[in-house]
């Protein structure tokens, strides 16, 4: 069975550069662990311990695949009155945030994300449970999206 589709708004997938950004972060950590465990195994002269880096490599490859799957599932859609955010493969979710309920919008980008020209757009409502963040929005689009959201939010702002 297919997953939720909004009747009018098409899904906009996030930038695939997010895959690279996340994979690099992942492999920086795994690389450190793999090198450290290999060095330990070789220095200790315990060839059996080389299983550890081997497992780490396998795990890293698996996580990389998960990153690809997750990022390709991540998308947003701007409907007339709401913003929709879709995420996840194994645990799928769709969050529907009315523009009138947005308290504020955050745009943030770490050094790696900036290097890839992407940013994270986070919407805040009065509810701590509405997890409406879009990672991997192209930087220029992120700024435009924020402005659009803010304008629409002001136009439709309702009380709590």
């Amino acid at each position: 069975m297919t997953w939720y589709e909004h009747s009018s708004a098409p899904w906009v997938p996030v930038s695939r550069r997010l895959i690279r950004a996340r994979t690099i972060t992942l492999w920086i950590w795994f690389g450190l662990l793999i090198v450290a465990s290999s060095v330990l195994a070789l220095l200790g002269d315990e060839p059996l311990l080389l299983i550890v880096p081997a497992v780490l490599v396998a795990l890293g490859l698996w996580f990389s695949w998960i990153i690809v799957r997750q990022v390709t599932a991540h998308a947003w859609a701007e409907a007339e009155d709401e913003l929709l955010v879709r995420r996840g493969r194994l645990f799928r979710s769709v969050t529907v945030v009315p523009y009138g309920r947005m308290q504020f919008v955050d745009v943030s980008a770490g050094p790696l994300q900036r290097a890839f020209g992407i940013a994270k757009v986070q919407l805040h409502t009065a509810s701590p449970h509405s997890d409406a963040s879009i990672s991997g929005v192209p930087a220029d689009e992120a700024a435009r999206l924020r402005d659009r959201l803010t304008t629409r939010g002001e136009a439709r702002l309702a009380g709590l």
């Binding site: 069975m1 997953w3 939720y4 909004h6 009747s7 009155d81 709401e82 194994l90 645990f91 799928r92 979710s93 769709v94 969050t95 529907v96 945030v97 009315p98 009138g100 309920r101 308290q103 409502t125 009065a126 509810s127 701590p128 449970h129 509405s130 997890d131 409406a132 439709r156 309702a158 009380g159 709590l160």
Partner: protein, 552 residues
């Protein structure tokens, strides 16, 4: 700061920076001494009880005089710190916000914007209550720690400040909103309104004889005699219905329900912890005899070795009972143009005012043991209450079916259904699709074997009802216009069965509305429909309707 505020009966909310009542240092800060004492007991008691220290050589080590001196020093330090803090704490009220600045080393200023006001509580801890003082807690929307807490003021002043804050928040502004009673907030005598007001009314005559005197000493004298009078009616003080003099009259209120003490005590007795506490010894006794255990020796050994552990476990249970009894004691709810008023508490009393339309979601909950009595515990989400959930987010600690319906009606006078009582009853204890409930499909029993038949969702014109629970029953009601955002979720098991969950995001609080294990297509449809209803609700939302429906 020219001088400290004179405790006079001519209180009006200060427009200039003003300090709190000078008694504040004496009322607060004792908790730290309690902590020290508790640590001490924790440290010493096991030794004494176990008999390791039969001569109490602690007292030989430190003579009584020294202990007294240390205690005096401790008290002096607490009071000194309190005075310093008090002298650096000031508040004032503006037409659009309440301001507070405080801090000894780092100064901080806070403002609670009145257009974001969610609730105003007048809180009286035991000590403050006996002395006739109160703290006022102003809750606003907008993240944590955005509220303002003023402690302490005289009870009458706190009530007056609350009335004025609500008056301003209701949109009435003007030069004399606080200084002079406005046309429509004339202070009225208790006798005049006795006919159409409930006994719980807190407003009394602002023109009593005591009001005539002014100046510190006269004011103090009046205050003392007034306090003596108040304590002459201990039952009023105990039930929190003490009458106080306020400058700006409170909006008239009408009592809707109150909780009888016997019912509250029974409800605590019929709770899980109570059953465990009573049942565990009964169940274990036969085993002890069967296994020929020397009961007294065993109990003695356990007491000797782990008294502190047992005491703290017991304290956990007692804490639960205490919280339920203390929080629900004398619980009274009333309606007024300022919104919902709730009053409750045994040692610490709390008078809450939640303006119309501030309740974000309602949860009716029935533990298994309450089934026979058909009792319900009703909690609410109010933005701003957030953290301090257990004591403040209760709409009714133990409601009968009728009271539960009334409580929902208080929040949602118009449920948007031709037969609100029938629909709510089905939503509380119904099962299956009676009454047009959208249910979880039979295949969901593979991951939800117990309650799948009892799950149900139904939207009326004004609210979404989510029912669940087989042994313990739960109903969540979310007004459409209070929906913050919506979510659709699906885990791998749900996916294998073609199911999905719809989540309604409410503000922080004890209510987490969630319709689980719906058929995927039903869930998609519900999400779309609910988004539409929330949109519609936001357009319609007008707080005035609340008053009209209540008919005050």
């Amino acid at each position: 700061m020219p001088d400290t505020p004179v405790p006079s009966t001519e209180y009006s909310a200060p427009r200039e920076w003003t300090r709190l009542h000078p008694i504040t240092p004496l009322l607060g800060g004792w908790g730290i001494l309690g902590l020290v004492a508790a640590y001490f007991i924790y440290d010493r008691l096991p030794g004494w009880v176990a008999g390791d220290d039969p001569t109490f050589d602690f007292f030989d080590q430190f003579p009584v005089l020294w202990i007294l001196l240390a205690a005096a020093l401790g008290v002096a330090l607490v009071i000194g710190a309190g005075v310093l803090q008090w002298s650096r704490t000031e508040y004032r009220i503006g037409d659009d916000a309440v301001y507070l600045r405080q801090g000894i080393v780092t100064r901080q200023q806070r403002q609670a914007r009145l257009d974001r006001l969610q609730a105003v509580d007048v809180v009286q801890p035991l000590l403050a209550r006996l002395a006739g003082f109160a703290a006022i807690n102003i809750q606003v929307a907008g993240g944590q720690k955005s509220g303002v807490m003023l402690k302490f003021l005289r009870l009458g002043d706190a009530e007056a400040l609350r009335n004025e804050i609500l008056y301003l928040a209701a949109g009435v502004t003007g030069d004399d909103a606080g200084g002079e009673p406005g046309v429509d907030v004339t202070p009225v005598g208790g006798d005049q309104v006795a006919g159409d007001r409930v006994p719980g009314d807190q407003v009394t005559d602002a023109t009593e004889a005591a009001a005539a005197s002014s100046g510190v000493l006269a004011g103090l004298g009046a205050q003392l005699s007034e306090r003596a009078q108040a304590l002459g009616r201990p039952e009023d003080v105990l039930r929190g219905t003490e009458r106080v003099r306020t400058r700006v009259a409170a909006a008239p209120e009408r009592e809707v329900y109150s909780v009888p003490t016997p019912r509250l005590l029974l409800s605590v007795l019929f709770s899980g912890p109570a059953v465990f506490l009573i049942g565990a010894p009964l169940v274990s006794l036969p085993f002890l005899f069967l296994l020929h255990v020397d009961v007294f020796a065993a109990v003695g050994a356990v007491l000797g070795t782990s008294l502190v552990a047992i005491l703290s476990a017991l304290a956990g249970f007692l804490g639960f009972f205490w919280q339920r009894i203390n929080g629900g004691f004398g619980f009274t709810a009333a309606v007024s143009p300022d919104g919902l008023r709730m009053r409750h508490g045994l040692t610490q009393t709390r008078r809450q005012t939640v303006p119309p339309g501030r309740v974000q979601a309602i949860r009716l909950y029935q533990p298994l043991l309450w089934r026979r009595k058909d009792w319900w515990r009703i909690t609410i989400n109010v933005a701003g209450y957030g953290e301090d959930q257990e004591s403040v987010s209760v709409l009714h600690p133990v409601a009968t079916r009728e009271e539960a319906l009334t409580a929902v009606w208080l929040i949602l006078p118009d449920l948007g259904d031709p037969d609100p009582a029938g629909t709510l009853s089905l939503a509380m204890t119904g099962r299956g699709d009676d009454g047009g409930f959208l249910t979880a499909p039979p295949r969901s029993k593979r991951i939800d074997p117990i309650q799948w038949r009892y799950r149900g969702v139904r939207a009326t014109e004004r609210a979404l009802l989510i029912r669940s629970g087989r042994f313990t029953k739960e109903l969540v009601v979310v007004p459409h216009e209070r929906t913050q955002s919506l979510g659709l979720q699906q885990g791998p098991l749900d996916r294998a069965l073609g199911l999905a969950n719809v989540v309604v995001h409410s503000t922080q609080g004890p209510v987490r509305p969630r319709a689980e294990h719906l058929d995927m297509q039903d869930a998609f449809a519900l999400l779309d429909a609910q988004a539409g209803r929330a949109r519609e609700g936001r357009r319609r939302q007008t707080p005035e309707q609340w008053m009209r429906a209540v008919g005050l």
